[in-house]
């Protein structure tokens, strides 16, 4: 184990290196570029024995890793925002073909107008592609999540997106423990799949499927997501035994006796944890529920933790125009069948990389303290 100061983008690269990925295809886009810069250097100098495929677009990048994965290789790519949107068609195909591709996505707001800064709308708008989605809150979690993603993906045959905030992680240098290769090898065995593209053993894949059977295949994808709910926590505990760090579906903090619980993802959740400590020092009974895995959505865990609260605040750094916060929509859904569930206060803030400060988050708790009825949407900090 070596402790190094690295940026979040390079944490993705090291995660791919340690997972011994065999094929990488990627197209550069700000703020993801450093991920593939380092991986291409690693491939060029022999540190990583992988095929690096240069492509002319993100659609081709995803198509290339799809083909690689179908032929039995462990495949990796990374992108951001418009690049992810361009992959959209192939994302669905990768899931349907049950290929355990892992990709990094650096959250970046969509244009127009052009923005390079963070918000979660790019990855959350891929919600229904069937990809599992993990949202990291620090660079260590970025690296570890790549390894964990392959471990789970290759068992349930579903792809995973490891998601991190532009700049607040992607370009922030901080200490990361780089695990020893032998220990990662012990945790993550080579990828094996008996159904692969192989000219010596030809099969047909993905052909026309009549209405009699299509639905069953969709059912199996959903069942695989349900299986992943269990597996993510199980593998998280296995990972903890070897590396001393646990990652689950959710990350609750000081929720046991909390009257008000804030739900957040990514770096906003990290800041919120600090805000919760400051408010606790003032005697406020507040807690934090960080959603780490957005797909499969951990409805049961969310219900367990939030049902006992008097009020629930959801911080969404994303927007589904015409509906509101995407995480809030899931949280309300999770609570819908809970009797006498707490009111939900849905905040939209920090779009396009606008800073979410400790003070801002403390204000959310203070504002909600004065409100009784839940609110479907509250805009925080809009200047018009």
């Amino acid at each position: 184990m070596k402790r190094m100061a690295i940026v979040g983008n390079h944490a993705l690269s090291y995660g791919a290196l340690l997972s011994r990925v065999q094929v990488i295809a990627a197209y550069p886009i700000t703020p993801q570029t450093q991920v593939v810069e380092l991986l291409s250097e690693m491939c060029a100098d022999g540190t990583l024995k992988a095929e690096f495929v240069k492509v002319e677009s993100e659609h081709s990048a995803m198509a290339a890793v799809m083909g690689a994965s179908a032929s039995g290789a462990r495949a990796f790519t990374a992108t951001s925002s418009q690049g992810l949107a361009l992959m959209h068609e192939v994302l669905h195909w990768v899931t349907g073909a049950r290929l355990p591709v892992v990709m990094g996505n650096i959250n970046r707001a969509f244009g127009p107008p052009w923005s390079i800064w963070t918000e979660q709308t790019d990855s959350l708008s891929q919600r229904d592609t069937g990809w599992m989605q993990i949202y990291a809150q620090d660079n260590q979690e970025v690296l570890d999540s790549v390894i964990l993603a392959y471990k789970v993906s290759e068992q349930v045959l579903l792809p995973t997106m490891v998601v991190l905030d532009a700049f607040f992680l992607s370009h922030t240098s901080e200490p990361v423990e780089i695990p020893d290769q032998e220990m990662v090898d012990e945790f993550l065995p080579p990828y094996e799949n008996k159904y692969i593209l192989n000219p010596d053993d030809p099969h047909a894949f993905g052909g026309l499927t009549n209405p009699e059977w299509y639905m069953e295949l969709r059912y199996k994808i959903h069942k695989a997501h349900e299986e992943a709910l269990q597996l993510i926590e199980k593998e998280g505990r296995e990972f903890e035994k070897l590396f001393g760090r646990y990652y689950g579906l959710v990350d609750p903090y000081r929720v046991d006796d909390a009257d008000t619980i804030l739900v957040a993802v990514s770096t906003a959740a990290s800041t919120a944890r600090y805000a919760v400590d400051l408010l606790r020092e003032r005697g406020k009974k507040v807690g934090l529920l960080r959603i780490r895995v957005f797909r499969p959505f951990p409805y049961e865990r969310v219900k367990e933790i939030l049902s006992g609260a008097k009020k629930v605040i959801v911080l969404d750094r994303n927007l589904s125009p015409g509906a509101g916060g995407i995480i809030a929509s899931e949280v309300r859904g999770a609570l819908a069948n809970v009797k006498n569930h707490p009111p939900v206060f849905s905040y939209i803030m920090g779009l396009g990389g606008r800073d979410i400060t400790t003070k801002n988050i403390m204000e959310l708790f203070e504002e909600v303290e004065k409100m009784e009825e839940g609110k479907d949407i509250i805009w925080k900090g809009v200047k018009i």
Binding site: R3, M4, A5, I116, W117, Q137, D165, A166, F167, F168, L169, H171, T172, S173, E174, P175, T267, A268, S270, T271, R273, Y274, D277, G353, D355, I356, T357, T358
Partner: protein
């Protein structure tokens, strides 16, 4: 937790300076977050970078609005950019300048340190005569004024972290460490 803001101009190595600092503190087992002002950097334009330093894990993840200390890599920024915004009373202002601290006229509530990093950078031929790269000299001076990291650790991090002229950068940092003038 100590929060520091760096002010420089694009091309002076402000971001690399914060990365070297991150590396050095990581080597000593400490926690640090070092990050640039997120934007599209242009040569000569004012830029900022931030660092949080702690003995334990750091949770807040946003820009620093109330720094404990500030580091100014380019004296021409004084008067051009609101450098002292949010600076906590009693904090250090470390400036690259030929002047002495008392000649800069900063408010008395702050402590001021100066170092002629431009002269040091030119002496070791870091960057060009028109655009010297002062970052390593400035982090050397920083290590003296704000003693969060051992000089030797920092010098090793510099030698391994700079893209070119490792020995010269190391020497520049050491000279700045030894020549910084502190008042307050």
């Amino acid at each position: 937790m100590i929060e520091i803001r760096f002010h420089g101009r694009g091309g002076q190595g402000t971001v690399v300076a914060s990365k070297i600092l991150a590396d050095a503190l990581t080597r000593e087992g400490k926690f640090i977050q070092a990050f640039p002002e997120f934007g599209v950097e242009r040569r000569g334009a004012p830029v900022a970078a931030f660092a949080r330093i702690s003995d334990t894990k750091i949770w807040p993840r946003h820009k620093i609005y109330e720094p404990d200390h500030i580091v100014i890599l380019d004296p021409t920024l004084i008067g051009a950019v609101p450098l002292l915004d949010g600076l906590k009373p009693g904090g250090w202002i470390l400036v690259n300048t030929t002047k002495k601290p008392s000649q800069l006229g900063f408010p008395k509530e702050f402590k001021v340190a100066t170092v002629d990093a431009t002269h040091i950078a030119l002496k070791y031929r870091l960057g060009s005569a028109a655009s010297p790269i002062v970052n390593t000299a400035m982090v050397g001076a920083f290590a003296r004024v704000i003693p969060v990291v051992k000089l030797e650790t920092l010098l090793d991090a510099i030698e391994e972290g700079v893209p070119i002229k490792p020995k010269e950068n190391r020497a520049a940092a050491e000279e700045a460490y030894n020549s910084v003038i502190m008042e307050g």
